[in-house]
C-alpha cells in the first residue's frame, strides 16, 4: 500500500506587527519596496489611506493592523509588499500594497499543517482562504482579490455608516 503523498507549497510569511502574521502564495508577492515615498489620500478609509507609485501605477496600500486591531503599523522605515492578484483567471493582474514591519519570509507549507482559524483570530475570517500551523502559531492565508475588492469595500463602508 502506498502512503498518501503530502503536497508541499511555497508561500510568503508576512509580518504586520502586533502579532499579526499571514501568508500569501509564492506568486502573489511581486516585489518588496523599502522606504518608498508614500502619499496620503484624503477622505479614504483609515486602513487604506496611502498610495505608492510602482511602475507608473498608483497603488493603494493596505494597513492590516489598522483594520483588524485599530492600530497603525509602527516601523522606523516603510516596508511595502507589492501583492499581485486576479479577480478571476480571465481578468488581468492587479497590484496592491501591504504595509509590513519587515521583509516577507519564504516558507514551505505542507498539507498536514492545515488547521482551523483559532477563535481568538476570527477577525481574519472574512478574507482568510484557509489557515495553517507554523512554528507554534496559526497563520491565515489571505484572499488578496477579496481584500482589494469592491465587495470588501462595500462591507466595510456599511459597517462604518451603520
Amino acid at each position: 500500500m502506498t502512503e498518501p503523498t503530502i503536497k508541499t507549497s511555497r508561500a510568503w510569511l508576512l509580518d504586520f506587527g502586533y502579532h499579526l502574521q499571514a501568508a500569501v502564495g509564492l506568486h502573489e508577492m511581486r516585489q518588496v519596496l523599502i522606504a518608498p515615498e508614500l502619499f496620503d489620500v484624503p477622505c479614504t478609509p483609515a486602513y487604506c489611506s496611502e498610495v505608492v507609485l510602482f511602475q507608473q501605477l498608483i497603488l493603494p496600500i493596505f494597513d492590516i493592523p489598522r483594520l483588524l486591531v485599530g492600530r497603525q503599523i509602527m516601523t522606523s522605515r516603510h516596508v511595502i509588499g507589492i501583492a499581485v492578484y486576479q479577480e478571476d483567471p480571465n481578468q488581468p493582474l492587479h497590484y496592491g500594497g501591504l504595509h509590513l514591519i519587515t521583509t516577507p519570509t519564504s516558507i514551505y507549507v505542507n498539507d498536514d499543517q492545515v488547521c482551523e482559524l483559532p477563535a481568538q483570530q476570527q477577525y481574519w475570517e472574512p478574507f482568510a482562504i484557509s489557515c495553517f500551523f507554523h512554528q507554534g502559531i496559526a497563520v491565515p492565508i489571505i484572499n488578496l482579490s477579496y481584500l482589494f475588492s469592491a465587495q470588501f469595500n462595500r462591507r466595510q463602508q456599511e459597517k462604518i455608516n451603520n
Binding site: 489620500v41 484624503p42 477622505c43 498608483i58 482589494f148 463602508q157
Partner: protein
C-alpha cells in the same frame, strides 16, 4: 473688483483642468466645472454659522470654504491663501480658497489619471481619480462632487453646533 483670472471654456475639453494647491494638497477640477477664479482680497471674510469663511459677490452671495490637507473645514483662513475658485452649482457658485491656482492641460503635460482604487472609496469622498504631477499626488474631483462635499461639510458643521 479685481478679477485674478477668468476661466472661460468655449469648448469643452476633457483634458483642461484647474489645479488648486493648498497645504501641499493638489486638487484638479475640470475647467468646465469652474465659474471663476478670484483673489482673496475681493472676498468678504467673516465667521459664519455655516462653516464657510466668508462670502463673495453682491446680491446672491457665494459662500467661500476653506479646507485643510485632509479636506476638512478650516474656520480661519491661513495667510497663504491668496485665491479662491468658484465652482458652478445649481443655485449660486460655491468657493474654495487656495494658495496657488493654475490651468493645466493633462494631455499636454502627459499626465495620466488613474481611478481611485476601489478599496479606497468612501461614500463621502469627492475624489474620483489620482494623478502624479511634479512628483506630488494630485486628487481629481468633478466640480459637482466637490460642491456636494462642501455642502455636506457645511450641513454637518451646522448640525454639530445645535
Amino acid at each position: 473688483m479685481k478679477t485674478a483670472a477668468k476661466v472661460t471654456t468655449p469648448q469643452h475639453n476633457l483634458y483642461r483642468y484647474v489645479l488648486l494647491r493648498f497645504d501641499e494638497r493638489y486638487l484638479f477640477v475640470p475647467q468646465a466645472d469652474v465659474h471663476a477664479v478670484e483673489i482673496i482680497a475681493d472676498a468678504h471674510l467673516t465667521r459664519t454659522t455655516t462653516g464657510s469663511v466668508g462670502w463673495f459677490g453682491h446680491g446672491s452671495e457665494s459662500p467661500l470654504f476653506c479646507l485643510d490637507k485632509a479636506l476638512m473645514l478650516l474656520l480661519e483662513v491661513p495667510e497663504t491663501r491668496e485665491y479662491f475658485v468658484l465652482f458652478k452649482a445649481a443655485k449660486q457658485p460655491i468657493g474654495l480658497t487656495c494658495d496657488e491656482v493654475e490651468n493645466i492641460n493633462l494631455q499636454r503635460e502627459h499626465l495620466h489619471r488613474q481611478k481611485l482604487p476601489t478599496v479606497m472609496k468612501t461614500t463621502y469622498s469627492p475624489i474620483s481619480q489620482l494623478v502624479i504631477y511634479q512628483s506630488q499626488l494630485g486628487c481629481v474631483c468633478q466640480g459637482t462632487d466637490l460642491v456636494h462635499y462642501l455642502t455636506q461639510l457645511s450641513k454637518q458643521f451646522m448640525q454639530s453646533r445645535r
